[in-house]
């Protein structure tokens, strides 16, 4: 049903747009070509939702969907693990929405202050009186600097924490509540690299070394304690009565008695569970599914948040070989794509343009800035210019290329690659679509295996609003292909990135904009659009202090500060299956 409908849309759009000239399109700013439903969403669910009432109500069991295969941070990273294990600090979630808050704010969790001795040496002061969950073999003992040292040494070389922890050369215990970090590379903003999302969590040695390790002894300092984990089905986490964080009015957190994570795998199941109030919070990835749910649950609450950068649609190119090592070819391919049509086909027009990296990191803080004008000519649909560039590069009759892709949950790559192939075909580039098995595709996306010519994939993402993750690691030639996945080797870009890395902060915004300009001019990766995130909550749920944290469970603070009214279903929490 869906592919055929999408095909019809593609055909009709081509027919209607083919009459318009390329020049007309390039001068039109990107706008939602939205049906009445999108307009209705804009008015009915304003970008900044109402502030939850106060005081919050304690109690209740919050249900949300998740996928956790092991409650063991030494095995793999999942955002939901932040419910049990804390990092030294965590992001205030409002940074997700740059119109509200441009500068990321860090919440002090296990660390209360930090000091730069020199750009390669940092001292962190720890919160006193923080206790691990009161369970054997740890039995609620206090968390100290020894635990931080142990955890970083345990996790820093694990693949899942590599982005941040690998920056740390050594950790020294100064006293019971003070640790000193020595870095592998000077970083005047190192404190941004111990925040949650891929930073090592603090674990107690006794639990790791006990039989079964953390999988059998899931003990941390987090707001919730794991009570029941049923692989494949879900998990039940209950409130940690000794949790140390308070809300802004000094009340104990978390508000809910328990959180039940439900490991769903099918969007139809998610929707059915939401309709029957067995899910309280959920995230949708398409406007179609949002429409289907709103029609049947009219009193739900929706936060429709522009994506920071996760979930975009793009094309990676083998930039180290012909013809993609020629800037003119990369520019031509980028200009051949009509991004308005991509937005229409992928998500009925409800999407934003996307550039080399998140808009906010380049200093664009208003949605109106997310425009063709800000991206420049390489991102504007101009098939005539694209043909000229190809001819100038020595390809007047185009060339043949492979475009590899795969089905991947949450994305609509099938329609995307067909569109791209059609656009490229229009300028003479003959595309052979090659569908890969998902794991093979993932290997190529991750830079573990090379791809032939081009690969349809989302852009490499970062954790949190960290420029290191999103840009520095992804484009600096010093890093291997598993990190710098596009294999970019550009000395001017390296200089810009190194200067940024060593700057104490004053020049960083200007440098980030300069890097943005360099990347959009060189088109090392073709980016197109990114759909927004739709977070739905039941009418009886108040999503605490940070309504912009759309990803259920991603920001642990959301689960800590969510509260439920007395209209919420009465649920037990002795075990998962209740």
């Amino acid at each position: 049903m869906k592919p055929s409908l999408s095909s019809l849309i593609v055909v009709s759009l081509f027919l209607s747009i083919s009459s318009a000239t390329a020049e007309d399109k390039t001068s039109t700013p990107f706008a939602y070509t939205a049906p009445a439903f999108i307009k209705e969403l804009d008015t009915r669910y304003p970008a900044q939702p109402p502030v939850p009432p106060s005081p919050p109500r304690y109690g209740g069991v919050l249900h949300f969907p998740a996928t956790v295969r092991a409650f063991d941070p030494t095995v793999g990273y999942r955002p939901e693990l932040a419910l049990v294990w804390d990092t030294l600090t965590e992001w205030e979630a409002t940074w997700y929405f740059p119109e509200v808050q441009r500068t990321p704010v860090i919440r002090k969790t296990l660390a209360t202050s930090w000091e730069m001795v020199n750009p390669s040496t940092w001292i962190f002061k720890l919160r006193q009186g923080v206790k691990f969950h009161n369970r054997p073999p740890v039995n609620g003992r206090e968390m100290t600097a020894e635990d931080v040292k142990y955890s970083y040494e345990l996790l820093k070389d694990k693949a899942q924490y590599s982005t941040r922890a690998a920056l740390v050369k050594a950790i020294h215990v100064v006293d019971k509540y003070t640790v000193k970090f020595e870095l592998t590379l000077a970083d005047p903003k190192f404190y941004l690299n111990v925040v949650d999302s891929l930073s090592p969590v603090i674990v107690p040695r006794e639990a790791v070394e006990a039989p079964g390790g953390l999988a059998e002894n899931p003990i941390g300092t987090g707001a919730f304690m794991l009570k029941d984990f049923v692989p494949g089905e879900g998990a039940l986490l209950v409130r940690n009565p000794e949790y140390y964080l308070k809300d802004k009015d000094g009340r104990a957190l978390p508000y809910v008695d328990a959180v039940r994570l439900i490991f769903t795998k099918d969007p139809a199941t998610d929707m059915a569970l939401f309709r029957t109030k067995q899910l309280d919070v959920m995230r949708l990835s398409t406007l179609d599914t949002l429409y289907a749910v709103i029609k049947t649950v009219p009193d739900l609450q929706l936060y429709r948040v522009p994506s920071y950068g996760w979930g975009d649609y793009g094309v990676s190119m083998a930039v180290d070989k012909a013809p993609f090592n020629d800037l003119r070819v990369r520019q031509a391919l980028s200009m051949a794509i009509n991004r308005d049509i991509v937005a229409e086909v992928i998500n009925r027009g409800d999407a934003a343009l996307y550039g080399p990296f998140p808009w906010a990191l380049a200093g664009y803080t208003k949605r109106a800035d997310y425009s063709y004008a800000s991206l420049g000519p390489n991102y504007q649909y101009n098939p005539k210019k694209a043909r000229e560039l190809l001819a100038a590069a020595g390809y007047p009759n185009g060339f043949d290329m492979d475009l590899e892709w795969a089905e991947f949950q949450g994305w609509t790559f099938n329609e995307f690659v067909q569109l791209v192939a059609r656009f490229f075909g229009d300028v003479g580039v003959r595309v052979k679509l090659k569908q890969l098995e998902t794991s093979t595709w993932l290997n190529r996306v991750a830079g573990v295996q090379p791809f032939a010519d081009t690969l349809a994939a989302a852009s490499p993402i970062g954790a949190g609003p960290s420029f290191v993750d999103w840009v520095y690691l992804r484009y600096h030639s010093a890093f291997p292909r598993t990190v710098n996945r596009a294999g970019v080797g550009d000395s001017k870009l390296d200089d810009l990135l190194s200067t940024w890395r060593q700057d104490s902060g004053e020049k960083r915004p200007a440098l980030q904009r300069a890097i943005w300009d360099h990347l959009r001019a060189n088109v090392y990766r073709i980016t197109t659009i990114v759909p927004p995130h739709y977070r739905l909550t039941q009418v009886y749920v108040h999503a605490g202090a940070n309504p912009y944290c759309w990803f259920p469970g991603y920001c642990s603070y959301e689960a800590k500060t969510t509260w439920m009214t007395d209209k919420a279903p009465n649920r037990k929490f002795e075990k998962f299956a209740q």
Binding site: G76, Y161, S162, A215, V230, G232, L442, A446, Q578
Partner: protein
């Protein structure tokens, strides 16, 4: 008979050993491995980190050494630890087998309750309205994919009745009401499909038997039609039906992945699919070995049942 059973068990063990080696080899041909599949999209590990992670899981050791270690554990009843959850494979498998068995048994009961009466009726009243309705049901059951039926079922149940089966599996001996409300709809959907196949087989097999000389003789002796069918025809007609049911039951115990996903009742099928997607070698090996054992056992039981259904069949 005992010799036959002993010989079949020995054959079964040989099959299981071959399966174990085949699956152990095949999973390692798949692209990617557990280390890569567990990475978060935002992670940027260096090749050295990936190598270290593989060493920790023992994936860097020679193929035959890995196989020897694993098969020695299997012989002792230890299927190893999952590469993703780090829990014992046996523990993970047993939990899912319990759910799958509940679903399989319930689906099979529903299928037989539908298939046998309709199949017999359709054969006895061949080319009547009842026969046509039965055949129509069978064609519908075969044509409608169970994942489609399941999606339609949960969508309409949730919209019209604001109801979905409750989350979290409860075994029937712990909470019968909850168990029934969880499994009845998925079992009906799976059962309807199975019933279609069994019903067609029952009908055609019974029709064939009803044309045999000994049935004519039974009728000529003045036996009532009911007695002819129940006493003389049905038992013989059931040999192909039992074969089909045995195969269906083996398949059911192997899991019904899509229905499990949709109804949030993750059985062995979902476990295996997840394991394949995550390249969890030990879990895949354990689950496939389990399937193979189930199929070997079911085939043996089906073969043994032939001699009960038809006394002329003897095993030596």
């Amino acid at each position: 008979m005992r010799t036959y059973i002993a010989r079949r068990i020995l054959h079964g063990l040989l099959v299981l050993w071959l399966v174990s080696f085949a699956i152990f080899s095949l999973v390692r041909i798949l692209p990617g491995d557990a280390v890569l599949m567990q990475l978060d999209q935002a992670a940027s590990p260096t090749p050295e980190m990936l190598t270290r992670a593989r060493q920790e899981l023992g994936l860097d050791r020679p193929f035959l050494e890995q196989y020897r270690t694993w098969i020695a554990g299997v012989v002792r009843g230890d299927l190893g630890h999952s590469l993703t959850s780090r829990r014992p494979v046996t523990q993970e498998l047993l939990k899912r087998v319990s759910l799958t068995s509940h679903l399989a048994v319930m689906s099979m009961i529903i299928a037989l309750l539908i298939a046998l009466p309709i199949g017999v009726l359709a054969a006895v009243r061949q080319d009547t309205a009842g026969d046509y309705v039965g055949r129509l049901f069978a064609i519908l059951g075969l044509s409608l994919p169970d994942f489609w039926l399941a999606t339609v079922a949960i969508t309409f149940l949730s919209i019209w009745f604001q109801w979905m089966p409750p989350i979290g599996f409860a075994p029937i001996w712990e909470d019968p009401a909850r168990n029934l409300s969880q499994l009845l709809i998925p079992a009906l959907i799976i059962g309807a499909r199975l019933a279609a196949v069994s019903m067609r087989m029952t009908r055609s097999s019974l029709l064939e038997v009803l044309r045999q000389d000994y049935i004519v003789t039974a009728r000529a002796k003045g036996n009532r039609e009911r007695a002819v069918i129940v006493r003389h025809a049905l038992k013989n007609a059931f040999i192909p039906v039992v074969t089909i049911i045995g195969q269906q039951f083996s398949v059911l115990l192997g899991g019904t992945v899509i229905v499990e996903f949709i109804f949030l009742q993750p059985g062995v099928g979902s476990l295996l699919l997840d394991a394949v997607l995550l390249r969890d070698y030990t879990l895949i090996q354990g689950a496939v070995l389990f399937f193979a054992a189930v199929i070997v056992a079911m085939n043996l039981l089906v073969d043994l049942s032939y001699s009960w259904l038809d006394p002329r069949i003897r095993y030596r």
